[in-house]
């Protein structure tokens, strides 16, 4: 059964330097506040897994928490580049960044395999592309019935998987709705898991399109109102599109970025 703890306790007890950590939320319900807490606790040498690294990974990379990134699309959605991600790959600043790169479908299936307790998943993809050559977690596999050549992708089982959700009840059952993306699979693939939530309520009244994750599948739940900003939580607040656009200028320059992080993240309480 999930323990209900504070966000800072959760990151302190569940995440170690050198861990593989997945932070999921496909454009919606991105666990931003967990990322801030990881930065405040100056975790090091992390392998971050995320389909769309987004601002959360840009910040963790720029602050030197990340030595490897497993991803499938590393941009600022609708805006352009992630400048901290680019600076790390192109110039090794603040640290060199190793990458393990997939398509969305490929990384999705790595999570599905991880959630299913299998060492790999099978898919139609990669053949003829450059990723097929450069990515070691992709391999040929042949159908034992038809002989057809397909691709296997290696399962991913993060040490810790973090997602953000709208609500939990007092037993730690979690409810999310709207675009629910890859969150369930990412959570189930994790050896440990943390769900940050907008609020804890007495009763999770059913909602159309909701996904309810029982407490017994979760390690810890932490309350973190606004924990997705500048991403959004359907029913709670909207996506701050202006901030995504503003991030381009903030993150483009190393000093401006460090100053912003100091003022807005490092000095903030969790």
């Amino acid at each position: 059964m999930a323990e209900i703890v504070s966000l800072s306790e959760a990151i302190e007890s569940l995440l170690n330097d050198g861990d593989i950590v997945a932070l999921e939320g496909f454009t919606h319900l991105i666990p931003m506040s967990a990322g801030y807490e990881i930065i405040r606790q100056a975790k090091k040498n992390l392998t971050v897994v995320r389909l769309t690294p987004d601002l959360i990974s840009d910040q963790m990379i720029g602050m030197g928490c990340v030595s490897k990134l497993i991803f499938s699309w590393g941009g600022n959605p609708g805006v352009g580049s992630l400048h901290r991600l680019r600076d790390a790959i192109e110039n090794g600043w603040p640290l060199p960044l190793e990458i393990d790169e997939h398509s969305h479908a490929g990384l999705t299936n790595r999570f599905v395999a991880g959630a299913s307790g299998l060492p790999f998943a099978v898919m139609r993809g990669y053949r003829g592309t450059g990723l097929d050559e450069v990515t070691p977690t992709v391999a040929p596999i042949f159908c034992p019935f038809t002989g057809e050549e397909l691709r296997a992708v290696a399962a991913i089982n993060p040490d810790l998987s973090v997602i953000h959700a709208q609500r939990a009840d007092r037993k730690g059952n979690v409810q999310l709705w709207g675009i629910t993306g890859i969150q369930k699979e990412a959570l189930l693939a994790g050896n440990r898991s943390l769900v940050t939530v907008e609020e804890i309520v007495d009763e999770l009244d059913p909602r159309p399109g909701d996904v309810v994750i029982p407490s017994w599948l979760i390690t810890a739940v932490a309350v973190s109102p606004g924990g997705s900003r500048p991403s959004y939580a359907a029913g709670y607040y909207q996506r701050d599109n202006d901030f995504y656009i503003a991030w381009d200028a903030i993150s483009r320059d190393r000093e401006t970025f460090m100053k912003w992080m100091g003022e807005n993240v490092l000095s903030a309480a969790s």
Partner: protein, 242 residues
């Protein structure tokens, strides 16, 4: 002109896999013109979204609120895209070659890139599995290149037999729409041929903007200019804001 030309490619009731930017603009334009029942699918999991304005990201709240249904990302890729259920996929890229292969990964060497681009996202499987693929890309010698820095998505590989060899189910790219004209694959060789130039564009301009020795169709046509109705629709879409 690019989004109007792309919108014209769409038919009513088609199922379209949409990315943000030009594709989203083109599909939403088609929906306001001749294809009111176009089914728009965003890779975030929204099926049949009907946004009133152009979304900034594929996760914008309005896409979810107006969707017929929302499914998980594994369902989008494994149950809907991979089996070839999508009629039309849109793709953009940083680079394209003469066989409509696309690069959105890096410029320069993969291990030591000059420019690191966002990467593959949904593109390789959209290119592989949609029944038809429409590519939208501004034309310049830097984007229309002899050799890609990296093959992110396969158009026709190195020629007409590669899609079959790679087990790709869809027909592949059917048209490349640029700011200067439109290219279509030769039915036999699959090399991209310039078939249309947009109004007031010189053929020389198109040739100069292509990094390979561009072939021109025997019957090169001029793209039909935007109609009044098309221009009004695009203005109202842009006015509704991002």
């Amino acid at each position: 002109m690019m989004s109007i030309a792309a919108a014209r490619q769409l038919k009513d009731n088609q199922i379209c896999f949409i990315g943000i930017g030009l594709p989203s603009k083109a599909a939403n334009l088609a929906r306001r013109l001749h294809a009111p029942e176009l089914v728009m699918i965003y890779e975030s999991g929204t099926l049949g979204a009907k946004p009133s304005k152009l979304p900034l990201s594929i996760g914008d709240g309005e896409l979810a609120e107006t969707a017929d249904s929302i499914v998980s990302v594994p369902e989008i890729f494994n149950y809907l895209l991979q089996p070839g259920r999508i009629d039309v996929g849109f793709l953009g890229a940083a680079q394209i070659d003469r066989y409509a292969n696309l690069n959105s990964t890096v410029i320069g060497d993969y291990r030591k890139p000059t420019v690191r681009l966002p990467g593959a996202g949904g593109a390789p499987e959209i290119a592989g599995a949609c029944k038809r693929v429409i590519i939208m890309l501004r034309q310049s010698p830097k984007s229309f290149v002899e050799k890609l820095s990296f093959v992110t998505s396969v158009g026709f590989g190195s020629g007409p037999s590669d899609r079959d060899a790679f087990g790709l189910k869809g027909a592949g790219p059917v048209i490349v729409i640029t700011d200067l004209g439109m290219l279509e694959p030769d039915p036999v060789t699959k090399e991209l041929i310039l078939t249309h130039i947009h109004p007031n564009i010189e053929v020389e301009k198109v040739i100069e903007s292509t990094g390979w020795n561009l072939k021109i169709a025997n019957q090169l046509r001029v793209t039909e200019p935007p109609t009044k109705r098309e221009l009004e629709a695009i203005r109202s879409l842009v006015a509704a804001g991002a």
